[in-house]
Amino acid sequence: MKRINAAKLRSAIVRYVLLAIGTVVFTLPMLYMISTSFRPNGALYEYPPRFFPRPEALTLENYDYILHQSKFYLNFLNSVFVSVSTILIAAAVASAMAFVIGKFKNRGTKTLFAFIIITMIIPGTTMIVPQFELATKLGLVNRLWGLIPFYVAWVIPFSTFMIKGFMENIPNEIMEACWIDGADVWTVYTRVALPLASPALASVSIFNFLTAWEEYPWANTVINDTSLRTLPIAIAGFFGQHQFTQWGYVFAMSVLTLIPVVLIFIFCQKFFVQGLTAGSVKG
């Protein structure tokens, strides 16, 4: 018995040590980003380079610049508008589809579902050329809201797939009871299916939010106006001046952009894990 305990203790120590080292190495890039955002731009090429800035050289000038001189607020609002609209619309249309596909199985809905799943294997960026042409024809180029239908279309397959799993688990007895009470499809969807699937909606929405919040290639392609840029393009734009890059500004803006994401992540962890593992464990 003692021998086993000693072995267990040893194994636990090894685990904690490895995890601690790994985690430290793993977080260094982010820490370096944060520390750089508090340095004056002139100190970026100091010698020797430092991981942590000298305390007397700490400065808030980068944040001051980003918050007062740049269009950060506007970029932030743009990103919020696009992301929130995307998750609301995606939740509505995907849950409706998932409800019908999950609960009214016939050849038509099965084919539709298979079709939706197949498109998941095509990397989104490969379609950028025809999508750009489409955006042009529909007059969606250089329109902030013009991003939304594309984002919604991208997240529909994953969202439908996830929510369908939950819809299928709604007991048929409950549905039967509704039909007997004379409820129609719409009522069952809004009163029964949606509330029961709300955990799935929540985790799907978090993922969709991240997708829209960080999307770069498409927004960079169709948005021109400085005042319509979302955060990723704004950050990339700060970096783009290749003659000299003000890394302090770039990273201050990055930190401000990451704050809402990290907050959402920490407070909604449960939904994250749920969303990630739903597809994987079932196989």
């Binding site: 929130v84 609301l88 250089n142 902030l144 106006d225 400085t226 003659q243």
Partner: protein, 414 residues
């Protein structure tokens, strides 16, 4: 979940309300879109946003200017793409090298045909500068500013290495080598910085070495871009790169201004805007300027500059007003304060310009040459960069790479 939902609803409502307000406020005004490549955090951009546009809008009630800053190469690509998606701006500040290409696409307005007072307006601008906007007998833009590049050198570094400012290409090679090595921290320093391998960067060497890119008529490249003088220029440059004496065009290099300001690059070839940039970011660095060293072809720099052009989808009346404003004495004088050499004759006479010490640049412009004024230039320039990259990395000899390039260019020039 329900609080989350309420929060979403509130945020969405606010955003919608805001955009609605913005839309209402616009009212009866005309908005013209102006694309440019003044970099976003530069003094030029600040002058544009805080001085020029407010002044223009005050002068012209009913016209609003939506100025959009793009990175240089991105602006070119965005214009091409937008031409096919009906999303062109009204007006853009274009590198003089792009105009033939845009003109060939048929997206530019021939100003001398459409604007009755064109001659009056263009008469206020330098003829030599206006010639950059002339293609096939018509004018497709107004000259906005002009420039050329001269040598900037770090005085202290040249003194410490006991190197004189090079005046010939042979001296230049020796100087660049002598200035390279290590500083007291054991960090590598380079004698010369070149931030890219495009025509804008390499042409001054090719021309000063006595080489050429094409024949006079710009119809043939073989025998010119792979001629002996051009090959020698490229070989010399590549050798210095391989000796660790030139750098700057790699992704991992210190950016030009930072490297020069911190004493890691001893010399560079740059335009008039650099003085303002250095004064802002590295006010302590002491530097001097000189013309590009002379080789067998003389001291030949590259002619730069921008024209302001109108696209055929523009609101012509408002766009023309804005173009006139941007080339007016007032606007050009303001821009002259941050490194843009005016082409407005009256602005050139102003005290601002006289005090700005543009003399060395204006002198360089006298002998500077323009990059080929052909529609295919952007594509040729891409090919040139690929060829030069292969040479400086030692994958091909200069002769091999330029022979291939010449064949490629011949096809493009047809």
């Amino acid at each position: 979940m329900s609080t989350l939902r309420k929060l979403f609803a509130v945020v969405l409502a606010c955003t919608l309300l805001l955009s609605a307000c913005a839309a209402l406020a616009e009212g009866e005004t005309v908005t013209i879109n102006f694309w440019h490549h003044y970099s976003a955090q530069s003094a030029e951009n600040e002058t544009l946003m805080n001085v020029l546009i407010p002044a223009f809008e005050a002068e012209n009630p009913g016209i609003k200017v939506n100025a959009v800053s793009h990175e240089w190469a991105e602006l070119h690509d965005k214009v091409l793409v937008s031409a096919n998606s009906n999303a062109l701006p009204d007006v853009a500040r274009c590198d003089i090298a792009w105009l033939p290409e845009f003109q060939q696409m048929g997206i530019l307005v021939a100003l001398d045909e459409e604007m009755p007072d064109f001659t009056k307006v263009s008469g206020q601008l330098l003829d030599s500068a206006m010639s950059t906007a002339q293609i096939g007998g018509h004018y497709y833009g107004l000259a906005l500013n002009t420039n050329s590049k001269i040598v900037f050198y770090n005085t202290a570094m040249l003194e410490a290495a006991n190197v004189a400012v090079p005046t010939t290409m042979d001296e230049w090679v020796e100087a660049v080598k002598a200035l390279s090595g290590e500083n007291e921290n054991g960090q590598q320093v380079w004698g010369w910085n070149e931030p890219a391998l495009a025509g804008w960067n390499i042409c001054p060497f090719i021309w000063s070495f006595g080489g050429a890119l094409t024949n006079e008529d710009q119809t043939v490249a073989t025998g010119y871009v792979n001629g002996p003088a051009t090959v020698k220029a490229v070989e010399t440059f590549a050798q210095l790169v391989q000796d660790g004496a030139i750098t700057g065009f790699n992704s991992g290099d210190i950016p030009m201004t930072d490297g020069f300001g911190t004493g890691r690059y001893a010399m560079m070839l740059e335009g008039p805007w650099k003085s303002a940039e250095l004064a802002g970011a590295y006010p302590d660095v002491a530097y001097g300027t000189a013309p590009i060293p002379a080789g067998e072809g003389g001291s030949v720099s590259v002619l730069g500059g921008e024209d302001i052009a109108m696209f055929n989808t523009a609101n012509q009346e408002a766009a023309w007003k804005f173009m006139q404003f941007m080339t007016s004495e007032f606007a050009e004088t303001e821009m002259a304060k941050c490194g843009q050499i005016p082409v407005n004759v009256a602005a050139l006479e102003s005290d601002t310009v006289k005090n700005a010490d543009y003399a060395p640049f204006i002198e360089a412009i006298q002998t500077a040459r323009a990059r080929p004024t052909v529609a295919a230039w952007s594509e040729m320039d891409n090919g040139l960069q690929v060829a030069l990259t292969a040479v400086v990395n030692g994958e091909k000899t200069a002769q091999e790479a330029l022979d291939e390039l010449a064949a490629e260019w011949d096809a493009l020039l047809k």
